[in-house]
């Protein structure tokens, strides 16, 4: 018997591959809603990153254990007060922001715990959801938002502009922004009109109290 190999960058989901590029080697990462632990397994193998994942789903917890990833079965909505301030280099949350009870408070906690935070979410300001609601009068269902209104876990969808307004209000510094389409590609048009043409938004953030 041998340990299964950790995924290479090419084997990562595109969104996770983009996140992994923003994480420096030899750092400590807390991954909120870490799923099956792919990102942490890759970061550990490729960049010697030490980390913990938080995950609520029992089957995902087992997948993390199989991958040799440190996983803690916890509900993000229970808060993160048990983690010390500035105890991680990065706190990552990929496509979970819209599923939590209080995204604003959680972002505040991420910035307290990590020196930097990386957040991704589906952009509700993309022209497709806008068209669905504006022209057809229907709640959008798409590749990035596959659920219907009554069975969606997404209780706090937002747009790129909404998110940046929150960052301004909370004095959060946006270190980097990257918007991509559902195939995780970007282009000049998307960079010029991120709220209209970006389907997924990735942000690297820093709290105002960071030294």
């Amino acid at each position: 018997m041998s340990v299964p190999a950790a995924p290479t960058r090419a084997e990562l989901r595109p969104e996770l591959a983009l996140i992994s590029d923003w994480i420096a080697p030899e750092t400590r990462v807390l991954d909120l809603g870490c799923g099956d632990g792919t990102l942490l397994a890759h970061l550990h193998a490729a960049r010697n990153v030490a980390g913990y994942g938080l995950e609520i789903d029992a089957d995902n917890v087992i997948a993390c254990v199989a991958a040799g990833v440190n996983v803690l079965q916890m509900d993000l909505d229970d808060g993160l007060s048990q983690f010390e301030s500035k105890s991680f280099d990065y706190v990552v949350m990929s496509s979970a922001l819209q599923e939590v009870m209080r995204p604003d408070l959680l972002i505040g906690e991420m910035l307290r715990i990590g020196r930097e935070s990386i957040v991704t979410f589906p952009n509700f300001g993309h022209w497709r959801p806008r068209a669905s609601l504006g022209l057809r009068g229907l709640m959008p269902v798409s590749r990035t938002l596959p659920n219907r209104w009554y069975d969606t876990p997404n209780i706090h969808l937002c747009t790129v502009r909404d998110f940046e307004a929150l960052c301004r209000d909370k004095q959060v510094e946006i270190v980097r922004r990257h918007v991509v389409n559902h195939a995780h590609q970007s282009n000049v048009m998307m960079r010029t009109f991120p709220n209209l043409l970006g389907e997924i938004a990735l942000y690297q953030l820093r709290g105002h109290d960071t030294d």
């Binding site: 018997m1 041998s2 340990v3 299964p4 030490a50 913990y52 029992a58 917890v61 087992i62 993390c64 254990v65 199989a66 040799g68 990833v69 440190n70 996983v71 803690l72 079965q73 916890m74 048990q82 983690f83 010390e84 105890s87």
Partner: protein, 381 residues
């Protein structure tokens, strides 16, 4: 023994290690010459790297798996989880299950004869701590020629010994699996233990712990202690589901005999316990529970207490356990994260309560089987 079962370790013979050395104890006394009784399941591999130590809880002993004889109807206390293809897979691991010092019908304990006086130890048996047990288990490890345990695993009081192993002998334990445990007892936990001890000590047949010499046992006290303990092992929901308010005779009799099914169950549990357990051992085990508090040595900081540990940790709790609730396991996890240790934590949705760790909920078994599979793979890689 029931039907031949490919998932059973079969008939097992306990073995005894006679320890001739003098072992110091936390209480300041020493214990000279003692026996450690243990069972093993599976096969030790050539480089002796596949040994797993199982630490037992309050009422456990060395007989964790398999059967004692052909006619034995009941297997060991953790048979559901130890065996070929089971959670602790004896096809991959060599499992060592010792009876703790101070126990009953196994390793040297209060019911054993003192080698010098020839009398039963009784109340003279020293009060033990988890550290003492771990120290004695380490003597067994050396005797078996095992450099490092691939894993040490235990539930409840057994989980406390696992934590103690990781702190006291960090280089002797590769993986620490801590199930349904707590970093120390709460006042409520200690209170329950104290009632159990008072039930035993105030039984007229206790005779200051020298009941062996009077040819009696403090039955009533030990029975009450077990009945009380049993309530704390089950959740309110589990008791409701199992007994509700069912009446044994279908009607109330306006008396104090057994009427409700739950009364009958508790009396049965208490009475059958008396036949297989020793009152002095019960006192010792509850004291070891009360005293466990590794953070006491480090100014109250559990993270500092874990500082020497190098093992990887897997911590498991059960949602319906109110004796050592998930919050108590999370205290352990938080301290390990603060200390920068490798740790995973699973919170298993369950119904039964504290005793869930003895059973086989799919997520519990799957999680630990996966974890231990990884342990076996890492060893082979």
């Amino acid at each position: 023994m029931a039907e031949p079962n490919p998932q059973s370790v079969g008939i097992v013979e306990p073995q005894t290690l006679h320890v001739a050395e003098t072992m110091p104890l936390d209480c300041g006394k020493t214990i000279d010459r003692f026996d450690l009784v243990y069972e093993t399941y599976g096969t030790l591999n050539a480089d002796r790297s596949n040994a797993v130590l199982v630490c037992h809880a309050l009422s456990g002993n060395h007989h964790a798996a398999g059967y004692r004889s052909e006619d034995d109807e009941k297997p060991g206390w953790w048979d559901k989880c130890i065996g070929p293809g089971k959670m602790i897979d004896t096809d991959h691991f060599f499992v060592v299950s010792p009876a703790n010092l101070g126990g009953y019908n196994g390793s040297t304990g209060p019911g054993s004869l003192h080698p010098e006086t020839g009398r039963h130890y009784g109340p003279d048996f020293p009060v033990l701590t988890c550290s003492d047990w771990v120290r004695s288990q380490n003597i067994l490890r050396e005797a078996l020629g095992i450099e490092q345990w691939a894993a040490v695993i235990g539930g409840s009081l057994g989980g406390m010994q696992v934590m103690q192993w990781s702190i006291d002998y960090p280089d002797r334990i590769a993986h620490a699996i801590v199930i349904a445990a707590a970093p120390k007892l709460s006042a409520q936990n200690i209170a329950f233990n104290e009632i159990a001890r008072q039930a035993i000590i105030t039984d007229p047949e206790f005779h200051d712990g020298r009941y062996y010499e009077h040819g009696v046992v403090p039955r009533r006290g030990l029975m009450l202690a077990r009945m009380l303990g049993h309530i704390t092992y089950l959740s309110d929901d589990a008791m409701r589901a199992k007994f509700g308010r069912d009446l044994r005779e279908g009607r109330i009799n306006y008396g104090f005999d057994v009427e409700f099914q739950v009364e009958s169950y508790l009396r049965y549990q208490g009475a059958s316990f008396v036949d297989r357990f020793d009152a002095n051992t019960y006192l010792l085990m509850t004291k070891a529970l009360d005293y466990f508090d590794p953070a006491h040595e480090t100014g109250g900081s559990l993270a500092k207490a874990f500082a020497p540990a190098t093992a990887r940790f897997m911590v498991v709790s059960f949602t319906s356990d109110w004796r050592f609730a998930p919050e108590r396991s999370r205290e352990i996890v938080d301290a390990l994260v603060d200390a920068g240790k490798q740790v995973s934590y699973a919170e298993v949705t369950s119904d039964l309560g504290h005793d869930d760790f003895l059973l086989t909920m799919p997520h519990y078994v799957h999680t630990l089987r996966t974890y231990l599979h990884r342990v076996a793979c890492e060893r082979d890689t």
